[in-house]
Symmetry: C2
């Protein structure tokens, strides 16, 4: 039994049918050459033989039906974990396009994890056309944040097609040959792993934590806060989810950034902004004021007392959605991000985190108060995370990882989340929304392409 840290407990306490609090990831793989029709089924049966589990994958709330019980973790013994419950084989209906895959992932992401068991599921999915298959994993936010979840997945992959690694829930206790490959792969991943701490815990905190952050808020740097317009995205949630995902070549984005003196992150924000503008116009719901995005960023810091030495915080950026011209919009976003970062420069890590939390995460807690979403003010309209990932192609026991999309957590009052992961030569966009409040979510994929094409012209 171990005490659940307050922030982790908050993710359990704030979870409802309408707001499942797990983070997920979708991976698409190429079947290896010569893979037979039973490849995925055989892989599934092999995965089930890994029945020794790491602590993270044996952990559940001590008293699942009791709110007080949420405050202690219980670590199950291996033999008490029903591995076939957690690791599941599914199939896509014909014709097995990405469309059918996204539909299945939308369903899987919308159901609650069972608190009577360790808080994770791993789905192996066959029937994807063009000799591909997929995996979808979900882990409760009380156990991992988006980054740690990404790292957990990454631990299974190797740049070496010949490497054989145990699945994420199993200890790294393979023969020495495989271990060497795994470790070298880990080292090669180290740079992006540090950078990846960017994304932070953005899904929300319990109201009990608010006072701490409110006390330490620095008013001037929070200037942009509390000015976001109310939009169709800032409404109450229902439990069902819609997930859409697509890859864009980093080179296309990089060229636009270079031509305009902007960062890659600025261009990602501009793509999202242009797509949101089109989406809101199509729904006759574009506000006259700019949408505000909460964006996790890393900052140079004087105080390195924090473990890891990275200052991870959230800044608020205007998305300039009221501006029709795409390049003008990019310029406005770039300026807004620069101002936000400058206002933070020179502060200690602790201050920066406190400011970031107070202006971004804390107001999200307010959304949990009944009626607040309907009548309160919205500090920002959505979270847009850009997570640096591994730049080399990876393999899962010989199957090449083609695409890797984050499946994130919409929260009460924030019905859409846009998370972007860079992997190999692509930027992988994962859009997760409330199925009711964000209709035709998949149209945003077309609008993202339109938006990038406009910036290229």
């Amino acid at each position: 039994m171990a005490l659940i840290a307050p922030i982790d407990a908050s993710f359990l306490l704030m979870e409802t049918r309408e707001q499942p609090m797990h983070v997920g990831g979708l991976q698409i793989f190429q079947l290896p050459d010569g893979a037979g029709p039973d490849y995925v089924g055989d892989l599934y049966r092999r995965l089930l033989t890994y029945d020794t589990l790491r602590g993270l994958y044996r952990r559940r709330p001590s008293m699942p039906s009791n709110i007080l019980g949420d405050l202690w973790w219980k670590d199950e013994r291996d033999k008490d974990v029903d591995l076939e419950y957690h690791v599941r084989l599914s199939a896509l209906p014909k014709p097995g396009r990405v469309r059918e895959l996204l539909e299945l992932v939308s369903r899987l992401h919308g159901t609650l994890l069972d608190r009577h068991r360790p808080l994770w599921e791993f789905h192996l999915i066959e029937g994807l056309e063009d000799n591909r298959f997929a995996t979808y994993g979900k882990v409760h936010h009380a156990l991992v944040d988006g980054i740690r979840g990404t790292q957990e997945s990454a631990g299974q992959y190797s740049p070496d097609p010949a490497a054989e690694l145990p699945p994420m829930w199993a200890p790294r206790d393979k023969p020495a040959s495989a271990r060497t490959k795994a470790e070298s792969s880990t080292e090669r991943r180290a740079p992006w792993r540090a950078a990846a701490e960017l994304v932070g815990d953005v899904a929300g905190v319990a109201p009990t934590l608010m006072k701490v952050f409110t006390d330490s808020i620095s008013k001037d740097s929070a200037a942009v806060a509390f000015t976001a317009p109310k939009t169709m995205l800032n409404v109450s949630l229902t439990g069902a989810r819609r997930f859409a995902a697509q890859s864009w070549p980093i080179d296309r984005i990089k060229k636009v950034a270079k031509a305009n003196g902007a960062t890659i992150n600025d261009v990602v924000l501009a793509m999202c902004s242009g797509a949101l503008r089109r989406y809101l116009v199509a729904n006759d719901a574009l506000p006259t004021k700019s949408l505000i995005a909460a964006v996790p960023v890393a900052l140079p810091v004087a105080d390195t007392s924090r473990e890891g030495g990275n200052a991870v915080t959230m800044v608020l950026s205007r998305l300039a959605t009221e501006i029709a011209d795409p390049l003008e919009r990019l310029t406005a976003i770039r300026a807004s991000m620069l101002t936000a970062k400058e206002s933070m420069a020179g502060r200690s890590t602790l201050q920066i985190n406190a400011v970031g939390m107070a202006t971004t995460i804390v107001p999200t807690g307010l959304n949990l108060i009944p009626g607040y979403v309907a009548y309160g003010r919205t500090p920002y309209n959505l979270v847009i995370s850009n997570v640096p990932g591994p730049r080399e192609p990876l393999y899962w026991n010989g199957a090449r990882l083609l695409g890797w999309y984050p499946v994130s957590v919409p929260t009460e009052g924030l019905a859409l989340n846009m998370t972007v992961l860079s992997y190999a030569d692509n930027m992988e966009f994962g859009l997760t929304g409330c199925r009711r409040s964000v209709p035709h979510l998949q149209h945003l994929l077309d609008y993202l392409e339109d938006s990038l094409a406009e910036l290229e012209q």
Copy 2:
């Protein structure tokens, strides 16, 4: 807006993550001759064109997140129902055996219905081997009981392979030719439909209803109550479900009944009893006292004031699980059922229902009181329902209905439910259990066969 009847509201109020309160059904069909590879996909797209819905399928709690809101129904407009959310296409992983189908149905039955939407789902499932496909439907118990659910499914089927009927959620407004076939089919179903009212509302009632029934309890006829042993089946629930199903020829059961002067229902109970005995022995958990089953029965009545004129109640029957000899066991079950029925004879419908409710359903309500399952006494160990169904083979738009299995509701303290539906020449057993508390549920299928084979010898 319409007031939700108290008993229906109780099914909403008592629902938790651990105790989803929906009833379900699994149907297996033969693909019609000449069906192409896109048959199921085409059928799915055709089903989605039925976007005018009957009231039952547009109904949801008025305020889903609010307990008080559960007391009123809101009827959505057709255009506000997201039909693609409710009607879903799924596929089985290879090799697509019944095993993979039962695994999928177990998962689907374990997830909660979304209260922000009308309380039903309908799943079309492709990839079942031997040129078959399947459907699984679930509807909240607050909207229908097991019988009404069965009737809703039946409304889609016809004994005429050429008949084309709308899906259950659509009004019966097809061309006259189809309508005539539908109506004649309904008439032919009438006898079993009346008998089918047997199954009753067995899933439980809210504690607030208890006093009414307690006041009218007649002590002598409740003699068998409160004597059931505590077993491994009478424990707290977790949210995950396991479902197993199999068909047995009615002729086999009928022969055993005839040879022993018993009813078909007695033999069904004896099969269940023998299977449970083997299962408990295998788990080293056979109690020395007999298990007690709650069994819905129809009784001859003097008072016909109740609509329909049927007296539907529950009786408690000893399952004689402590007796090793199968024929002795059958004799003991027969005697117990006779006593239970005799003690009810001559009473008015109202009395019978009150007695039935007080001895069976009401104690189930007690199980909802925290700690009661762990420390309280158990009035019975499980519900075994035997529902008479249609005796002629049915078709769904040309696809022959091969098997039809009820997927029922385990409740707190009652981790296993056995429901049997007669259809065509078979008795269709559907076993629904808590995945954790009833391990290896599927072994009960083998034990049912063993049990019937013993009785035949």
